[in-house]
């Protein structure tokens, strides 16, 4: 690999995943050309629409990546997302967005404290938090879909566009810039990679590892909350379990982008491409009238095949 591409932060996973995105578009275009005689997959309208949908997954995955880089995982994302959206729409008015972000902050702090101080495996702690959040939301709504609607600010970011560019995509870019800055330009980012590689060594180097873990979980939950607010704006309302279909795809997006699931390695650009890849794959397949069964099978097979190409672990050696 040439040093130029390396300096730009492009590595093998990103190249291959990016190439695969193009392959998906080409195959889809060949299909539409053959059946309808148009190239609708390459039209700016379609691509921007897909980017808008991808921004919800992309922002969730960005947060998930912060946690995976440490070698942890956050299974509380689905109900953090739903809780932020549901509470925000329930409160309404100008306080809606701060309340939604506040949910993310509190959940992130709680997760971080549990993992950093109690040292409970993040897998099980966040699973418990997810169930508790679900329970709280069920009590809040009485088990029915909430009747409240998204506020103007949420509609502005989630649904509206300027010059055809969805605001959700602009927000995704803003979140991405912030995360790239944290990862590459601040000590916090360095420490995240360091903890993912060897926590004990990082601790012995004088790093406040507990604080880094807490910060990562807070960023993750904040991202989930932002995605929830956007999604509520996009669909004009919040509903139960709206976050359920974001947990596994966000993990898949991070891993497809070349981040190691055990932490310590990974580039942010990969996560963006991973999210785009998953959304495009689902969309193109459904336009090609593939039934749900086939879509699931292809989705799973693509993840395995891509990881077989560039995501393999080291061989066990003496």
């Amino acid at each position: 690999m040439s040093s130029a591409t390396t300096r730009m932060g492009i590595d093998k996973p990103i190249l291959i995943a990016g190439a695969f995105v193009i392959v998906i578009l080409l195959v889809g275009s060949a299909y539409t050309l053959a059946t309808q005689g148009t190239l609708s997959f390459l039209s700016p309208t379609y691509l921007l629409q897909q980017l808008q949908i991808a921004s919800f997954l992309g922002i969730t995955a960005a947060g998930m990546m912060m946690v995976i880089l440490l070698g942890h995982i956050d299974l509380s994302v689905p109900w953090t997302l739903s809780a932020a959206a549901m509470l925000a729409t329930a409160v309404g008015g100008p306080a809606a967005v701060p309340v939604g972000l506040g949910v993310g902050l509190v959940v992130g702090l709680f997760n971080g404290l549990g993992v950093a101080y109690l040292r409970v495996p993040s897998m099980i702690f966040t699973l418990g938090v997810n169930t508790v959040l679900m329970g709280l939301m069920v009590i809040l709504t009485g088990g029915f879909a909430p009747q409240s609607a998204a506020t103007d600010l949420m509609l502005f970011f989630g649904r509206d566009r300027t010059f055809g560019i969805p605001h959700a995509v602009i927000l995704w870019i803003a979140v991405s810039v912030a995360i790239v800055f944290i990862l590459n330009r601040t000590p916090l980012g360095r420490y995240m990679y360091a903890i993912g590689n060897r926590e004990a060594a990082t601790y012995l180097s004088g790093v406040n590892t507990r604080l880094v873990i807490i910060c990562s979980f807070v960023i993750c939950s904040l991202c989930a909350a932002i995605a929830g607010l956007l999604l509520a704006g996009y669909s004009s309302r919040a509903f139960q379990a709206m976050g359920d279909e974001y947990l596994l795809p966000s993990i898949a997006a991070v891993v497809l982008g070349g981040t190691h699931i055990l932490g310590g390695r990974g580039k942010y650009l990969g996560t963006v491409i991973g999210a785009v890849l998953i959304v495009l794959l689902q969309s193109v397949l459904s336009v090609m009238q593939m039934p749900e069964a086939g879509r699931q099978i292809i989705y799973g097979a693509v993840i395995i095949l891509m990881l077989l190409v560039y995501g393999r672990g080291d061989k066990l050696r003496a």
Binding site: L127, T131, G135, E199, E292, I297
Partner: protein, 348 residues
Amino acid sequence: MKTLRIYATQNLGLLIAIAIFLVLYLIYATQLSRFGMNVVLQNANEVVPLALVSMAQTVPVLLGGLDLSVGPLMTMINCIASEFLAGDIWSVLFGCVLCLVIGSACGLLNGCIVVYGRIQPIIATLATGAIFIGVALFVRPTPGGKVDGDLSWALTNDINELGYTYGWWEDLGWFGLIPLPAVFLVLVVLLVWIPFRRSATGRGCYAIGSAEGAAYMSGIAINRSKLAAFTLAGFFAACAGLYLTLLTGSGNADAQQAGSYTLNSIAAVVIGGTSLFGGTGGCIGAIFGAMVIRAISFIFRVIDENSIFGFLASPLLQSLVEGAILLLAVSLGAARVFRVRNRLTLFT
């Protein structure tokens, strides 16, 4: 006495899980006015699918991995079984064996991807889980099935009912009141899990979970143990799918239900005292973990609104209490964090 104490310290998690279960179930039994064997039977029926899925989850967890495909695999077998569990005894038997073989083969597929593909178990099974759900939807796009009604009735009741249904035997007294789901579970443990655990391959799994490098250096057949572990997970998940089919009499490719079974199985495994880092624990613990989780929901059905727990009477509180108990249980294990002299020992 000394061996007893050693056993207790080595299986502390399991003993705690049993204790929690007994407390919860005693509360349940005393609150219920008409407690009897028929209630136990109904409870056992609800516990067994989750218990089997949790056993399936336990084996990869012992290796230090996680299997996100146990729920989807169970759902897939549920859909396949709903096509085959009908007709005469031989075709039913053939259907059962077919389901178990398919389940084990899918587990083996997971194992091959992990061992030869060298992909981390959690992410490999995330992908295969999607594939299994896809196959389930392919086999059964809409819920339904043609499960033999007599069969479904006879195998999910007590031993007496099995005899009545087919005219094999009459009333067997107290022995006949034993619920068949419990019998199945005990059989699976005695015939599959215990022999596996005592075999060199099974012990290899524990060794790999403790220290893979050391296990490799000690000459343990790493690949064989891992393949066997995932195959066994597939087998247990297939048992769960089969039993679920008998219980519901139909197949349903419900991705949401599959997901919740997977997540509940992780919780059950941890409550049962198996470490998510691998190397300690076992299937028996997972069974009791599953019983604890189900016992919580049993209690919610019987709480009297006028008792001291009356404020808990609303069924809406169920997931909150489930989550809180899970958090509490895992946080109890955190006591050691505040006792250590050197924080370095925590980073293992």
